[in-house]
């Protein structure tokens, strides 16, 4: 099969380096540039052999059904909650993601968020820039070293978060589907128990049916008015309206959020709070890592069309 005739569908803009590299090797079709998507897909249904998506739009059942020649879905993300895995398996479609290359950046950002919330960097930066420092002193903030950190999900990123948190002498607890006996951190058999025994709760598990709204009212109450929630997983991990009312009413001490239920929309009630840090889904957002992720997507596509084993299949 002539490489340049292989149609690769890209669902949305995600990285210009990736686009350039895809264009060199394949016939790149940019789904977001057309007005009538179904018409477009129908017109190209026989030439699209690969789909490249990300954590916003990837490959749901509808898209998979529309592309009978689809052989591989390569996600520009580590999460695969926007891919219908069952349907892909049914059709014999390979699915890849980008684990490991972004582990460090996401873990770094988790710590960044913790420090930002506890030490109020955003608020104090506003304090200086608005001239308020000339009129008074800034408020006290909360120490991070030594605080109890609870991690939900001890996969690659969860372990990387734990490693960093250890350097701040924080006791670490975790919740996972099953206890990991080789891990030295304290295991809690429920998220509520973990929350009740943590000062800071970090969400970093995959988004599945079971983990949807894993942070609910009960967990928020257990974390309490001095507790801080850090979400670097997916917006849907958290019952967002519950979280917002808990923060507004002071029932939760603070939150650092990189993900939201309806990105890029963020509940406006949070904008006026100084104990909340809001980021535009930048967990893997560095020049170096996005490039590495792009290279991994390309490499997976290349090996697939060379009929060699996928490098980072979703297992």
């Amino acid at each position: 099969m002539e490489s340049n005739n292989i149609g690769v569908l890209m669902t949305c803009p995600m990285n210009s380096h990736l686009e350039q590299e895809l264009e060199k090797r394949f016939k790149l079709l940019r789904l977001w540039t057309v007005r009538d998507r179904s018409k477009f897909l129908a017109a190209h249904r026989n030439s699209i052999h690969a789909d490249v998506g990300n954590c916003s739009v990837c490959a749901n059942a509808e898209l998979i059904e529309a592309l009978p020649k689809l052989e591989i879905v390569a996600s520009f993300s580590v999460g695969f909650d926007k891919i219908d895995l069952a349907k892909s398996k049914e059709k014999g479609i390979g699915v890849t993601h980008t684990p490991d290359v972004l582990t460090d950046d996401v873990a770094d950002m988790a710590i960044g968020l913790i420090l930002m919330v506890l030490r109020k960097f955003c608020e104090s930066d506003r304090f200086v820039r608005s001239g308020k420092w000339k009129k008074g002193t800034f408020m006290l903030t909360t120490k991070f070293t030594g605080k109890r950190v609870g991690i939900i999900g001890l996969g690659r990123v969860g372990m990387a978060v734990a490693k960093r948190v250890e350097a701040f002498s924080c006791p670490i607890g975790y919740y996972s589907r099953t206890e990991k006996p080789e891990i030295k951190y304290k295991y809690y058999s429920s998220v509520v128990k973990l929350a009740a025994n943590s000062d800071i709760l970090v969400v970093i598990c995959p988004l599945t049916e079971e983990t949807r709204h894993i942070i609910n009212r009960e967990v928020i109450d257990a974390l309490g008015p001095k507790g801080v929630l850090i979400n670097i997983g997916r917006g849907l991990h958290v019952d967002e309206p519950e979280l917002v009312s808990a923060l507004v009413e002071g029932r939760l001490g603070g939150a650092g959020l990189d993900v939201f239920e309806h990105e890029p929309e963020v509940p406006e009630e949070l904008f006026g709070l100084d104990n909340v840090v809001l980021l535009p889904h930048v967990g893997s957002g560095t020049v170096e890592t996005r490039r590495d992720m792009a290279d991994l997507v390309i490499a997976n596509l290349e090996v697939h069309f060379l009929k060699r084993p996928l490098l980072t299949p979703v297992v």
Binding site: P13, D104, D105, D108, M109, I111, G112, L113, L115, M116, R119, F121, C122, S124, D125, F127, V128, R129, W133, K134, T137, F138, L140, T141, T142, K143, F144, T145, G146, K163, R164, E166, A167, F168, S169, E263, P264, E265, V266, F271, V277, L278, L279, P280, V282, G285, T286, V287, E288, T289, R290
Partner: protein, 337 residues
């Protein structure tokens, strides 16, 4: 009157006349009820010139014969002039990590002991330094602003930041704070090197004999040294040029460690990558040109201000004063070289 013989047990609540006097030196801009005042008043008779109706000078002179100990609040200057008003003075209790506002030479000459805030702030300051570095590289404060101004909706994805892992971090001053910073950044996969007056024998990080050399071989500099005559403007134009246009400077030491005018020029001209600053040459004045920059994070000298650090400071201040009046070893004496 020999106070060491006549001292009362400080733990009893006694009327002011029976408590040992401690002169308080604080600047007028400081809040009148500085946080550990009530705790101290339970143990000592605080003499605060700013609370008196008479001019400070005459208040101090009047009480001078009975003043053996002085408490310096924050970075209020304790000059040789102030010291000369206190002929009986034997102890200066500082309440900050930095000592650059106290005439240590004069204290040494007079045989006056000085106590510092020791290492109680080190963890908070190290945490703060790491936070500033992540913030600058990953543009987190700017990202939060982006979301709150509804730009995520209007303009789409936020510009990419720079990865922390693998960065070469140069620590200027490997004291307690510098060591705590290094320990944390190792966990993020940073490569640590340092500059110090002298190489430290048991340290595993590479040593550079000059700050310029360190800078040439670093992606980020973190200033953790104290301010002295030698370290004044230790970060100058040469150092910044050596650091380069992707380089980042984090300052949690003292403003005067950096030639601030040059720093501003370098930032404005894009000759340096970014900066995270908690201290400035003329606090609370901050160069206005920095306000519009996304690659700069500004904090109001806030690194030590957590309830945990302040409580520990309170214990230490009271502990040092009690030790002094009981003729016991001071808890955190400064080395007066």
């Amino acid at each position: 009157m020999d106070y060491h013989q006549k001292q009362q047990s400080p733990s009893q609540t006694l009327p002011p006349d029976h408590l040992l006097p401690v002169l308080v030196i604080r600047s007028p801009s400081m809040p009148p009820f500085f946080f550990f005042k009530s705790h101290l008043q339970a143990h000592f008779h605080l003499l605060d010139p700013l609370d008196a109706s008479e001019p400070a000078h005459s208040f101090i002179s009047r009480h001078a014969p009975s003043v053996l100990a002085l408490l310096c609040v924050g970075n209020t200057p304790v000059s040789s002039e102030t010291l000369s008003l206190l002929p009986s003075l034997k102890l200066v209790v500082a309440s900050s990590a930095g000592m650059d506002h106290i005439d240590l030479q004069e204290c040494r000459r007079r045989g006056i002991s000085v106590t510092t805030a020791g290492h109680i702030f080190s963890e908070d300051v190290a945490d703060f330094a790491v936070g500033l570095l992540i913030d600058v590289l990953r543009r987190l404060s700017a990202g939060d602003k982006y979301v709150r101004s509804a730009l995520w909706v209007a303009k789409g994805p936020y510009p990419l930041g720079l990865k922390l892992g693998g960065k070469r971090v140069g620590i200027v001053g490997l004291g307690r704070i510098g060591s705590e910073v290094a320990k944390r950044l190792l966990a993020f996969g940073c490569n640590i090197a340092y500059y110090s007056r002298k190489e430290k024998p048991y340290v595993q990080y590479p040593y550079y004999a000059t700050v310029t050399d360190l800078s040439t071989n670093s992606d980020a500099l973190i200033l953790c040294c104290s301010l002295t005559k030698e370290t004044h403007h230790i970060i100058n134009r040469n150092v910044m040029e050596a650091l380069g246009k992707e380089g980042v400077i984090i300052n949690i030491g003292r403003g005067a460690l950096i030639d601030e005018k040059e720093l501003v020029n370098f930032l404005v001209q894009g000759r340096i990558g970014g900066a995270g600053l908690d201290v400035y040459e003329n606090e609370p004045s901050v160069p206005q040109q920095l306000f519009a920059m996304d690659n700069v994070v500004l904090a109001p000298h806030a690194a030590v201000y957590t309830p945990e650090s302040l409580e520990a400071l309170q214990e230490l201040v009271v502990g040092n004063l009690k030790a002094f009046f009981s003729n016991e070893p001071l808890l955190s004496p400064a080395r007066l070289e």
